[in-house]
Homo-oligomer: 141 residues x 2
Amino acid sequence: MILSKSCVYAIRATLYITAQENREYIPVKEIAKELNLSFHFLTKILQGLTNASLMKSYRGPNGGVAMARSADSIYLIEVIDVMDGLDIFSECLLGLPNCNDINPCPLHEEWAKNRTSIHKMFQTMTLSQIVNNIDKLRLGL
Amino acid sequence: MILSKSCVYAIRATLYITAQENREYIPVKEIAKELNLSFHFLTKILQGLTNASLMKSYRGPNGGVAMARSADSIYLIEVIDVMDGLDIFSECLLGLPNCNDINPCPLHEEWAKNRTSIHKMFQTMTLSQIVNNIDKLRLGL
DNA sequence: GACATTTAAGATAAAGGAGTCTGAAATATG
DNA sequence: CATATTTCAGACTCCTTTATCTTAAATGTC
C-alpha cells in the first residue's frame, strides 16, 4: 500500500464531507458509521487535519467537522502531505539516500517517471473534482 | 515506501550477486558487508528467495548463495513477488475491496494507469539489464 | 444551571514489520 | 576425525503503525 491506512481514511473522510455540500458541520460519528471506520481512530485522524488547518471543527450538539476551505481549492496532495508527508514523491525506490538525478541508482530513471506521474495526479485532483466523479459516474466510496 | 525494506534488500542483494558474473557461490557475509546490511537479517531474507527457488545455496567453506537461473531470465517482478506479493499491483488506492474496472472508486481510473505502468516496469526489467546499466552508466548500488 | 452531545487530548493495547541472537546442520580442509 | 566455515531454522526483541479506551473541555437546549 503506497499510502498509510490513516492517510486513506483521511482521504475517504474528506471526500465524504465534500459530498455533503449543503450541510455545515458533520459529526465524526456519522462519517465513521457511513465509511465503516472506527470512530475513535477516525477522530484522532481528523484532529490531525484540523490541527493542520485543512479542516475546522465545532464542539457540542450540532457540532462536527468541516473542510476549512472550499473543496474546489483543496488538492488531494494536501491531505497526503498532512498524513504521510511528501517524502514518497522524492524517495529512491531502493531507499538509497544518495540517489538523485546526478548520482542515480540503476532504477532511478524509470522509477522517477512513475513517481512524478503519481505526484502530478495528486497535485491536480481537487476534492470537488473527485466528488463530481462520484456523482456523475455513480462511483463507490 | 512502495516496497518493504525486506524486498528492497532482496533486490539489492540479487543485483550484487548478478554483478559477480564469473563467481559461483557468494557468501551472505560478503553481500551484507558490501551493501551495508545486517548479516542476520539478510540471511533470513535470502533464505526466503532460496525457498522460493529463485536462488540456490550451498553450505560450508566456499559456500554461499547464487541465482538459481541465468540472471537474464529473472525479472524484477519475481523478486518482488516472493517478498511482498503482487497485491500492490491490483489493490485499490483507497484499499476498497470492491473497487475494480466495473465498480470503480473515484480514483480508480487514474490510479490504475500508474499502477499498471509500475507493474510493467518490474515485469520487463531483468536483473542482467539492470546490472548492465550499472556497468555502462557507472550508477550506484 | 442541568444535561446531552460532540470534539480534544492522551494513555494504553494489539499487530506487524524490522532486526538480533543462538544453536543446529552441512561441508570443505588438513 | 577435528575444526572452521557457511547456510538453516526458529525464538526473541524492538519499533512503528493501527486501534481502543477514558477523561476533559466546549457548546446547544431545555
